[in-house]
C-alpha cells in the first residue's frame, strides 16, 4: 500500500471561553495546544491519555464538529485554516472524507429511527443527488460489510445488543465512503467478549477499504493491539509520539512510563514495578507553569518548573527535558 499522507495537522489548538459566573473572571481553557501529527492511508494513529487530556477535543476538531482556534489541518487535499471559513464544496467533500464513531452506541443512535433511516441520513444530507433506491442499496451493502444482516434494515436500535449497535454506528460512518475514520473510544462501552468482535471488524475494514484510523482510547492493551503509531497526550499537549513498538518497549516520557506501569496486566505471575503517580490531573483552567506534568513527575528538576519542554524532532518525539 502506498504511504500517502491523508491528514496533516499542524499546531492545532482549541480554546474554550469559560464564564466566571456573576463575580468571577472569565477565563480560557486550552483544551488542545499545538498538536501536530500526520496520518497515512491504511494506518492507525492511536491517541491515548486520561480524561481532560484533550483527546476528544482533537476528535471534534478533526471531524470539523468544531473549528480549530489556531493551526491548520490538511485533509485529503483540502485545507482547514483557523479563522478562515470553508467554502461549501470543500466542506461537503470533507464531511464525506472524515467520519466518526462515538463511544456509546446506546446514545449515538436515534431510538425513533429505523436502522435503514439511521444509515441513510448522512447520504440524504451530503449526497442529495443519490436516488432513494441507491441509498437503500448502499445501506444494505454496509450492513453486510459490517457483519449485520439485510433484514436488520427495518428494525429499531433497541432490538440490538451493544456490539451490534456499535456495528451499526460503524456502518453509518462508512455510508459516505470516507477515507478517515475517527474512532472515539469505540469499544470501551462494550463487554470483553464483544469488544474483540468489533476490533476484528475494524481490522478487516481497514484492510479492505484502506481506511486511515484516528483511534482514541484510554485502554492501552487495545491500543497496543490496534495502533501503528501512538501519540500520548497530557493536559492538551502531545508529550510523546512514536511507533507502537518503540513507545511500548522504550517509553521516554516519564508520564508515558507511568501510564504503562499503571495499566493492570492480566497475568498474576507478572511482577509489576509500578511507578506511583501521586496527585491528580491539574485543572486545565489553571495548568502548572513549565511542564504540565512537573507536579506528578519523578524526574522533575528545577528547569521543568519554569519552562515548557518542546517536542524533540525525529521519529520518536518526546517533550521532556529529562527523558527516561
Amino acid at each position: 500500500m502506498s504511504r500517502s499522507v491523508i491528514v496533516e495537522a499542524r499546531d492545532l489548538s482549541r480554546h474554550y471561553e469559560v464564564s466566571g459566573g456573576l463575580f468571577g473572571k472569565a477565563s480560557t481553557v486550552q483544551a488542545l495546544s499545538n498538536v501536530s501529527f500526520t496520518l497515512e492511508a491504511g494506518r492507525t494513529l492511536a491517541v491515548v491519555g486520561e480524561s481532560g487530556c484533550g483527546k476528544s477535543t482533537l476528535a471534534r476538531v478533526v471531524t470539523m464538529i468544531e473549528p480549530p482556534s489556531e493551526g491548520t489541518l490538511h485533509i485529503d487535499g483540502h485545507t482547514v485554516d483557523a479563522g478562515e471559513p470553508l467554502d461549501a464544496s470543500a466542506r461537503a467533500a470533507l464531511r464525506a472524507a472524515v467520519q466518526i464513531v462515538f463511544q456509546n452506541p446506546f446514545g449515538s443512535l436515534n431510538p425513533r429511527q429505523t436502522i435503514g433511516r439511521i444509515l441513510e441520513e448522512p447520504v440524504l444530507i451530503n449526497r442529495p443527488d443519490l436516488s432513494k433506491s441507491a441509498r437503500a442499496e448502499r445501506a444494505r451493502e454496509m450492513l453486510e460489510l459490517t457483519g449485520l444482516r439485510p433484514e436488520h434494515y427495518d428494525r429499531y436500535p433497541h432490538m440490538f445488543s451493544g456490539g451490534q449497535r456499535q456495528r451499526i454506528a460503524v456502518a453509518r460512518a462508512l455510508m459516505l465512503e470516507p477515507r478517515i475514520l475517527v474512532l472515539d473510544e469505540p469499544v470501551s462501552a462494550l463487554d470483553l467478549s464483544i469488544q474483540s468482535q468489533v476490533l476484528n471488524l475494524l481490522v478487516d475494514l481497514q484492510e479492505r477499504l484502506g481506511l486511515a484510523y484516528l483511534f482514541i482510547s484510554h485502554d492501552l492493551s487495545v491500543v497496543r493491539h490496534m495502533a501503528d503509531d501512538v501519540m500520548v497526550m497530557y493536559l492538551g499537549r502531545a508529550v510523546e509520539t512514536a511507533s507502537r513498538d518503540e513507545l511500548f518497549l522504550s517509553p521516554k516520557h516519564p508520564y508515558t512510563e507511568a501510564l504503562l506501569s499503571a495499566t493492570p496486566v492480566a497475568d498474576p505471575t507478572h511482577q509489576s514495578t509500578r511507578i506511583r503517580l501521586t496527585g491528580e490531573l491539574p485543572s486545565p483552567l489553571d495548568p502548572p507553569p513549565g511542564c504540565a506534568f512537573n507536579p506528578r513527575c519523578r524526574n522533575v528538576q528545577a528547569d521543568c518548573r519554569t519552562s515548557r519542554p518542546p517536542l524533540s524532532p525525529g521519529d520518536h518525539r518526546v517533550a521532556c527535558f529529562h527523558p527516561v
Binding site: 467478549s193 484510554h218 492493551s221 497496543r224 493491539h225 501510564l259 499503571a262 492480566a266 498474576p268 507478572h270
Partner: protein
C-alpha cells in the same frame, strides 16, 4: 467457619414480561482476610448477588437461598433492624460511580460523620476526630479542609477515596467493592486499588471485588469467581485460573484479551449473552461454546469438584482440551 457463607442464592425479578432470573444458584464463601474477585460481563448477575446480600434490591426482587450467613447471623431470616445494624458497620459497600453515590447537598464531613453516628457510640468531637483520621487513612491531603467540601468540589478519584473512608469508618469485617475503579483513569485506578489492598492488609478485613477487568483481577485478587448469565461457572485461585481455566467461557474470555493476542485477529466468542427469553434449557453457555455437543444443549451441568475449579460444565477443560470420558 467462613465469614460469609452463601449457598444457592437465586434472585428473580418480577418484570412486566414475567420472571427474570438474574442470579441462579450462586455460592459465595469468603474467609476472614480473603480477597475474592467476582468477574463477569454485564448481565452476569455479579452486582445483583452482592446487592441481595446487602438487602439493597427493590421489592420486585425475590431472593431465595439455602443459606445466607454472615459472621454467625442468618441474613435471610434477620429482621430489618438486625440487618440495619450489620449493614454499613460490619459489611460495607462502595459503588462504581463515586460522583453519584455521594449526596450533593451535604458536605463530605457530614456524610462521614453520619455513618459514624449511626453505628458507633461516639461523641460529636470524637466523630470529628475519627473523620479526619479516616481521610488521612485514605490519603486525602488537608483533611480538615476537605471535610467542609461538597462532593462537586472533588474529583472522581477523591470522591472514591471519600466513599472508601465512609465504608471503612466502622472497621467492617467485609468490604464489597462494586467496580470501584471503572469510572476512573488508569493512574488514579492504580492508586485506588493500592489503597484498597493496603487497607485490607492493615485491617485484615475481607474484600470482595466485583469487576469486569481481567487486569484488575490478576493484580489484586487471591481467588476468582467467574459468573456468566447469572451462574457461577468457575472458581479458582488467581494463578490457577489464568494458567489453566477449566470452564470454556473463562478460557474464551482470557483468549479474547487483546494483550494475549498473537495474531491481528482476536479470538472471539460468537453470539451474545442469553437474555430473558432465549435462555437455553441446557448449559447456558452451550450456544456460544466451541466444545458443546448435544448433551450440553439438553442437560444442565452441575459444578465439578474443586480440583476442576468448580466448573459448571459437562466437560471441564484439562490443559485446554475438554475431558470427554464416559460418565
Amino acid at each position: 467457619m467462613a465469614l460469609l457463607d452463601v449457598q444457592s442464592l437465586s434472585v428473580d425479578f418480577r418484570t412486566a414480561n414475567g420472571q427474570f432470573r438474574a442470579v441462579d444458584r450462586v455460592d459465595v464463601s469468603v474467609e476472614e482476610g480473603d480477597v475474592l474477585a467476582i468477574v463477569g460481563e454485564s448481565g452476569s448477575g455479579k452486582s445483583v448477588s452482592m446487592l441481595a446480600l446487602m438487602g439493597l434490591l427493590p421489592w420486585t426482587a425475590d431472593i431465595t437461598s439455602d443459606c445466607m450467613r454472615f459472621d454467625g447471623t442468618d441474613l435471610a431470616t434477620a429482621d430489618a433492624e438486625t440487618r440495619r445494624r450489620l449493614v454499613g458497620r460490619d459489611v460495607a459497600m462502595i459503588f462504581q460511580e463515586p460522583m453519584s453515590s455521594l449526596n450533593p447537598c451535604f458536605t463530605i464531613g457530614f456524610q462521614i460523620r453520619e455513618a459514624l453516628k449511626e453505628h458507633l457510640d461516639l461523641s460529636r468531637s470524637e466523630r470529628q476526630r475519627r473523620a479526619i483520621e479516616l481521610l488521612e487513612q485514605v490519603g486525602l491531603p488537608e483533611p480538615e479542609k476537605r471535610l467542609r467540601a461538597f462532593p462537586h468540589q472533588l474529583s472522581g478519584g477523591m470522591s472514591q477515596r471519600v466513599m472508601i473512608a465512609m465504608a471503612i469508618a466502622c472497621k467492617p469485617k467485609l468490604l464489597i467493592a462494586d467496580e470501584p475503579t471503572t469510572a476512573l483513569d488508569v493512574t488514579i485506578q492504580a492508586q485506588i486499588l493500592e489503597l484498597l489492598l493496603d487497607l485490607q492488609k492493615e485491617t485484615g478485613m475481607a474484600l470482595v471485588l466485583i469487576t469486569h477487568d481481567m487486569g484488575v483481577v490478576a493484580e489484586t485478587a487471591q481467588r476468582v469467581s467467574v459468573q456468566y448469565a447469572g451462574q457461577k461457572v468457575e472458581e479458582q485461585g488467581v494463578q490457577a485460573l489464568f494458567a489453566e481455566p477449566r470452564h470454556p467461557y473463562t478460557s474464551a474470555l482470557l483468549a479474547a484479551l487483546p494483550e494475549r493476542a498473537t495474531t491481528r485477529h482476536l479470538p472471539t466468542i460468537p453470539g451474545v449473552v442469553p437474555g430473558q427469553f432465549d435462555r437455553p434449557s441446557g448449559c447456558l453457555f452451550s450456544p456460544r461454546c466451541p466444545h458443546a455437543d448435544e448433551r450440553c444443549g439438553r442437560e444442565q451441568p452441575t459444578p465439578a469438584d474443586a480440583s476442576l475449579g468448580h466448573a459448571r460444565c459437562h466437560y471441564p477443560l484439562m490443559a485446554g482440551v475438554p475431558r470427554r470420558e464416559a460418565s
